[in-house]
């Protein structure tokens, strides 16, 4: 079996792309895949790169991000023998599978933690661009925060750039100066800058993709969107030849792919308990977060 992943950004961005890259290589090693990757593939090259991998005989070609949806559909029609996968895409075909996260669900939990822990009643979220993944996240975050504290104010900043660290930092400093004391940066490299602001100003942060408290002690809680775990689960299917053109959506029920991280010691026990209750409610379906 051979699998290739095509990523929109750099594999060392500490974010989405790095997670995808590591996900495939790690899973590949474990499952005996031959793994290949292309990084920083921009819009005009998507079709070229995807079809090139298909032509080179890769069994599974992954477009890492919703922006690949369209290109994958074009290429998949041309290579019916090859299996394609879009991470964070939408819609499926016979040979197009889709791996997605229930973003608003985990964002709700983050919002709940942030809302509970804010002394000022103002929290923030920083994102780069508006599209489905980010807007879902923002909406879930706001809903969760309101659930914890109906009067909470949620600041939203769009930086327009996933990787500009200085911009990430400035956006965070800005939110802090507006009174925010819990911040959730959701970009790639730029997250680093925001977290530095969090650290310098002594406020709290929320992590994304991995259990970020290991790197930043100011992290209250992390939304672990385990692209690695998610990919691992569908790569296992692929290895067994069972991967289908279906939606593989990770939610709080799929711990391998989506889960929360460690709680910050400052978080009171009742908040921890309430978060755990929320998770159970999500799993059982009694709590439905929108947009789904």
């Amino acid at each position: 079996e051979r699998a290739a992943i095509v990523m929109p950004g750099s594999i060392s961005d500490n974010g989405w792309n790095q997670a995808g890259f590591e996900g495939l290589t790690k899973a590949g090693e474990a499952l005996g895949f031959e793994a290949a990757f292309s990084e920083s593939v921009h819009q005009p090259e998507q079709i070229e790169v995807l079809s090139d991998y298909a032509r080179r005989g890769y069994d599974l070609v992954i477009g890492h991000g919703g922006e690949f949806q369209d290109a994958v559909e074009r290429v998949a029609a041309r290579f019916p023998e090859t299996m394609f996968m879009v991470n964070n895409g939408l819609g499926t075909k016979d040979n197009i599978a889709n791996a997605d996260f229930y973003f608003s669900q985990i964002a709700y939990l983050m919002g709940y933690v942030a809302g509970s822990m804010s002394d000022t009643g103002t929290i923030g979220i920083i994102a780069a661009q508006q599209f489905k993944f980010t807007t879902d996240t923002v909406v879930g975050y706001e809903a969760g925060a309101k659930a914890a504290n109906p009067d909470v104010r949620v600041l939203v900043t769009w930086t327009g750039d996933w990787d500009d660290i200085t911009k990430g930092k400035e956006a965070a400093l800005n939110q802090i100066s507006q009174g925010a004391d819990v911040l959730w940066p959701t970009m790639d490299s730029a997250t680093l800058g925001s977290m530095q602001a969090v650290q310098e100003k002594g406020v709290y942060g929320i992590g994304i993709y991995r259990d970020a408290i290991n790197e930043w002690p100011e992290i209250l809680q992390s939304a672990i969107l385990d692209v690695r775990g998610n990919m691992r689960s569908y790569l296992e299917l692929a290895a067994a030849g069972k991967l289908e053109g279906a939606l593989y959506r990770a939610d709080m029920g799929n711990e391998l792919a989506m889960r929360i991280g460690s709680f910050h010691p400052d978080i009171p026990v009742d908040v921890v308990d309430e978060v755990n209750n929320l998770i159970e409610a999500m799993k059982s379906g009694t709590l439905v977060v929108n947009p789904q």
């Binding site: 920083s40 041309r78 661009q129 489905k132």
Partner: protein
């Protein structure tokens, strides 16, 4: 400078670039020869590679022409990128708003809409330059950023496709898609269109009074005025043409390659156009060659990663080096290698002399 030395110089330069790059590839843990084999084979010498090259060369060529024409009138159009975006936007809006014309009517109209968009975006710096003396470099540069954000807004807001996971518009109807020239590939007719434009512009510059006078303005404004050429009008005309060309490049990306308007759909083609233009020494007829060279380099470089696994950062270095050395080979009248050879010869002669003197002594 005769042709032979020029070819030899380009070859030498390429060799130099590739050996420096080879060291890096080696450091990255790959076999440089294998990597380079891929670089060349998969850019021009194989069906798929060549098709990729053509796909990239088409916006690069038009963007190159969009630099050449204004530059010939002494106006530096850095704004190709923004004009591509606005052209793509106009073309896409037209295509989506009036989706059911026959292709033979719709496609030219889309091109016209895109050209109008690009020209509109170029008209602003042109007006400011001609009538207010504002520096066009900075205006066009700033307007690039603005254009990108405008398209970003359009595809994330009013044009966003139903249920799209990423900011992009609905698809344009089948009738509007450019024909595919090489079966099974994405090679659309864009490059051929660019070639057509190239020939028209070449003849226009060389064989019509208005083209000739445009060139005069770029070479010597005062002499052009002395020849009765209106500098202001010429500047505006040149920029409108440049903007239209870039705008049409945007349309080609939309109805030739992506069939939708995407956020960030142009990958710096406007800036590639600058390299294309100057490598072609601002001669339109040479631009297809330099566009093919640059596109081939980029297409081949991409396959180095896919076929061999060379790190993309190393690939960028190799691309930069090749461009530098080829540019050097194209311009340097007296090569460094020649002076080095001269020096060596002198030294040899000296050493032989001293040896002879020693022997005699």
């Amino acid at each position: 400078m005769n042709r032979f030395t020029m070819q030899r110089r380009i070859a030498t330069a390429l060799l130099l670039a590739l050996s420096v790059g080879g060291v890096l590839i080696l450091l990255d843990g790959h076999n440089p020869f294998e990597a380079y084999k891929v670089l060349f084979l998969e850019s021009f010498l194989n069906y798929w590679g060549f098709s990729n090259t053509l796909v990239k060369a088409s916006p690069m060529l038009l963007a190159g022409l969009a630099v050449i024409i204004p530059m010939r009138a002494g106006v530096f159009n850095i704004g190709g990128e923004g004009q591509i975006y606005i052209g793509g936007l106009f073309g896409a809006v037209f295509a989506l708003a009036i989706p059911d014309l026959p292709g033979l009517l719709g496609v030219p109209l889309i091109f016209i809409a895109a050209a109008a968009g690009g020209a509109f975006w170029a008209a602003i710096p042109a007006y400011l330059k001609a009538y207010r003396g504002t520096n066009e470099v900075i205006v066009t540069l700033l307007m690039n950023f603005i254009a990108i954000h405008i398209v970003s807004y359009a595809v994330a807001g009013p044009l966003l496709a139903e249920g799209a996971p990423y900011p992009y518009s609905e698809e344009v109807s089948d009738a509007y898609r450019l024909p595919i020239l090489m079966p099974q590939s994405d090679t659309h007719a864009g490059f051929v269109f660019g070639l057509g434009m190239t020939i028209i512009l070449y003849f226009w510059l060389r064989f019509t009074p208005s083209g000739f006078q445009l060139d005069l303005v770029g070479r010597n404004v005062r002499a052009a005025a002395y020849a009765g050429v209106d500098q202001k009008k010429t500047i505006i005309r040149a920029m409108l043409i440049g903007g239209s060309l870039a705008g049409m490049a945007g349309a080609i990306e939309v109805i030739g390659l992506k069939y939708r308007l995407f956020h960030l759909f142009s990958d710096g083609y406007g800036y590639d156009g600058i390299v294309v233009a100057f490598l072609a020494a601002l001669n339109p007829i040479v631009a297809p060659l330099t566009a093919l060279f640059l596109a081939g380099l980029s297409a081949g470089a991409g396959t180095m990663q896919r076929a061999i696994g060379v790190d993309s950062s190393v690939i960028e270095v190799v691309e930069g080096l090749v461009v530098v050395f080829v540019a050097a080979a194209l311009v340097t009248p007296r090569t460094t290698s020649k002076s080095i050879l001269k020096l060596l010869a002198k030294n040899l002669r000296l050493r032989r002399q001293t040896q002879r003197q020693k022997k005699e002594a």
